[in-house]
């Protein structure tokens, strides 16, 4: 029978993230989750390899105990953190797949129905974002920094958004754009505001 990915209830994503963060209290310092440490604690080895121009940031390997990452992403460790979180999310969301021993037909990325693949990639990104920047904490920190800027009389909306996102990104040890995307996904800023404040770099 062909492999079928079953998307979890979106409400379950924060619950899964909370369980992961609670399971590894020693790996949480301030608001920062030591994602490499969590992966290590789960008995998973991270293999950095030079993946050159293949445009692969990282992947969850067939062996449930191995994650391969493009060693070049370690140059910017905050970027690596999201890649690692996403690969861990895959292993969590499809736990039975990784631990069944046999990979069922149609389970590899290149064999999957594009809609199924899009759904599982979307879920993995959501879980990765929630693991690294839990919604409740993100909203609280964003409001905190925003209110300080307001109290200082700052009125340039775009500047305030960028500054707030930068401060929040620093608190979670994630990339600036990762934190910006999170603000948009949580509808703290609108799609238009996101594109106005964070125009693509040419």
């Amino acid at each position: 029978m062909k492999y079928q990915y079953n998307s979890p209830d979106p409400a379950a994503i924060p619950e899964i993230s909370t369980k992961i963060r609670e399971k590894f209290p020693d790996r949480v310092e301030g608001h920062v989750l030591d994602i490499e440490g969590v992966i290590e604690d789960l008995g998973i080895t991270i293999l950095p390899r030079p993946l050159g121009k293949l445009l692969v940031e990282g992947y969850a390997a067939r062996d449930p105990h191995l994650i391969v990452v493009n060693k070049d992403i370690f140059i910017g460790s905050n970027r690596a953190r999201f890649t690692l979180a996403e690969e861990l999310a895959h292993k969590v969301l499809e736990f039975d797949l990784w631990n069944s021993g046999n990979l069922p037909a149609g389970a590899k990325s290149e064999e999957m129905d594009p809609d199924q693949l899009a759904a599982l990639e979307r879920d993995a990104k959501r879980l990765a974002a929630e693991i690294l920047q839990p919604e409740a904490i993100y909203r609280e920190r964003y409001s905190h920094h925003w209110s300080i800027l307001e109290s200082e009389g700052k009125t340039d909306f775009n500047w305030c958004v960028r500054t707030t996102v930068e401060l929040v990104a620093g608190e979670f040890h994630v990339g600036f754009l990762t934190a910006a995307v999170r603000a948009r996904e949580l509808e703290i800023i609108s799609y238009e505001e996101y594109h106005r404040c964070f125009p693509p770099v040419m």
Binding site: T45, I46, L47, P48, R49, P50, L51, G52, L54, L55, V56, E57, G58, Y59, A60, A61, R62, D63, L66, V68, K71, F74, T83, E86, E87, H90, E94, L103, A107, K108, S109, E110, M112, P114, L117, L120, E121, A124
Partner: protein
């Protein structure tokens, strides 16, 4: 220190045991002085044994990419892409 070489070393691949690498490793591991002699003995023993290659430790089946994060998120992996990734993963480090 090259993180890929360091990871290989952690997996028991001793090809990187040059004096310079060994020295950097000592600092990276923050070895206390009382452990340095033992460390050097183990390194010498490893140098004398048959050097393992990455392919001795892992198989292509084990490392087949099942879920990937691609730079271009709109692309879907092909069978040829998966083979090219594995070729790159198993290429000896320079």
């Amino acid at each position: 220190m090259d993180i890929a070489k360091y990871a290989e070393f952690e997996c028991g691949i001793g090809a990187w045991l040059s004096p310079a690498f060994r020295s950097r490793l000592r600092f990276a591991l923050m070895l206390p002085s009382e452990d340095v002699e033992k460390f050097n003995q183990l390194c010498q023993a490893a140098e004398k044994s048959r050097p393992l290659a990455f392919g001795d430790q892992f198989t292509r089946e084990q490392l087949h990419p099942v879920r990937l994060r691609l730079t271009n998120e709109d692309e879907q992996l092909t069978t040829e892409d998966a083979a090219a990734i594995l070729d790159q993963v198993f290429a000896p480090l320079s």
